[in-house]
Subunit: 206 residues, 2 copies
DNA sequence: GAGCGGAGTCAACATGTGTTGGCATACGCT
DNA sequence: AGCGTATGCCAACACATGTTGACTCCGCTC
């Protein structure tokens, strides 16, 4: 946080070219660090994913990690940014929401390690848990809002949806209960979809 | 493991009194260590629950922990032993199983920190995950077996039940999603019971 | 009282961690 | 070409961790 360095935008009488991508020769390194960090966080969780190990995976020196991301927390924040890319509720038939959501989630979990990393870190690290709370609040809650008429019930229903989706990911990708691993995504979706559908749209249970 | 110490049972011409409880003066300390360990593991997970912190909580020296439990893994093994005390399936009406199971689980989670400790450690630590797999195999699977006619489907159904119960515990006790925390156990049970019931007894979804 | 073994304390070791600063190098511009 | 700066590596620090061994103290038995 050294002062005296004005932002690169519109320095007086500076050449019109902004910091060219050629100057960002380090982009490759930065990306390699992030990828290694995601892998390590996903595999080991926050505490056991050491900066040294991440740097070794990325074939650079540990001090580079510090230079580019400040500290370990900054690295985690940069490595794990999640956009669930939830489908547009308006385009979803109301009675297909469960099936669509489950399929979308399973696909996202299979396609990258970021969600695994976030879940592993969220269970051990306060910052990780808060990150997950933020995703829930800003991405899941609004979606649930579109399916539940009674606004009072939206948070509880969204939490229940999350509990089932995260719970399945937990048993399948983290704890690796053999039957949960053995299920193919079609079967899993067939089992889970009605649950999600009910949490979203069924009347409040008496 | 120093040899030369014969087991206390039936030493020839020994006084009939077995090692008196007075000799087990250390029992109080042992118990204090275990309790502190459970708290720390539940609050911090495996890596951040340091032996020094546990010893401080128990008001003893860290080396005592080593003397009594060998090493950190041994301490964890001793501190986290779980009996789910699942109800006898024979005594459960088939269509009440979901409700009863959910109520039982919620009560167990509320009553002690052991389950929280196990879940936290299970997500970061290989040994913890294996412990949970063992509990699933030896306590949950047999129960599910009593409710599902088709033996082929038992593991998947048991895994689904676990995914929902663990998922709810995850969002409520670990990640602390506010709506999941806000639900009282009655509401939570009302929402979750039908899900569990369906996983246990409903026909295979087409 | 002498001896003994368990209970507990203290200090230390070896190791691994996040993090920092200094030094070399190669690129991009004038 | 020459220079400045971004890029990278090396060595080191300060600290925390699991773990070990030697030492003291207490209660008990001969």
């Amino acid at each position: 946080m050294t002062a005296g360095k004005p932002p690169a935008s519109s320095a007086p009488s500076a050449p019109p070219t902004p910091p060219a991508p050629s100057q960002r020769r380090s982009e490759a390194t930065r990306a390699a660090i992030l990828e290694a960090a995601r892998e390590r966080f996903a595999a080991d969780g926050y505490e056991r994913a050491t900066i040294r190990a991440i740097a070794k995976d990325a074939n650079i020196d540990p001090s580079m990690v510090m230079r580019y991301y400040g500290n370990k927390e900054g690295l985690f924040a940069a490595a794990v940014t999640i956009d669930l890319r939830l489908p547009d509720p308006a385009a979803l038939p109301r009675d297909e929401a469960g099936r669509a959501l489950v399929a979308h989630f399973l696909a996202m979990w299979e396609e990258s390690e970021v969600l695994t990393a976030l879940l592993r870190v969220g269970t051990t690290n306060q910052a990780g848990a808060e990150r997950m709370q933020g995703i829930f609040r800003e991405q899941v809650l609004p979606l649930a809002q579109r399916f539940c008429p009674d606004p009072e019930q939206v948070p509880a229903r969204a939490a229940l949806v999350s509990s089932q989706l995260l719970g399945f990911a937990l048993t399948r990708y983290i704890l690796r209960f053999p039957p949960a691993v053995a299920l193919d995504t079609q079967e899993a979706a067939a089992w889970l979809a009605p649950t999600i559908q009910r949490y979203l749209t069924a009347p409040y249970p008496q």
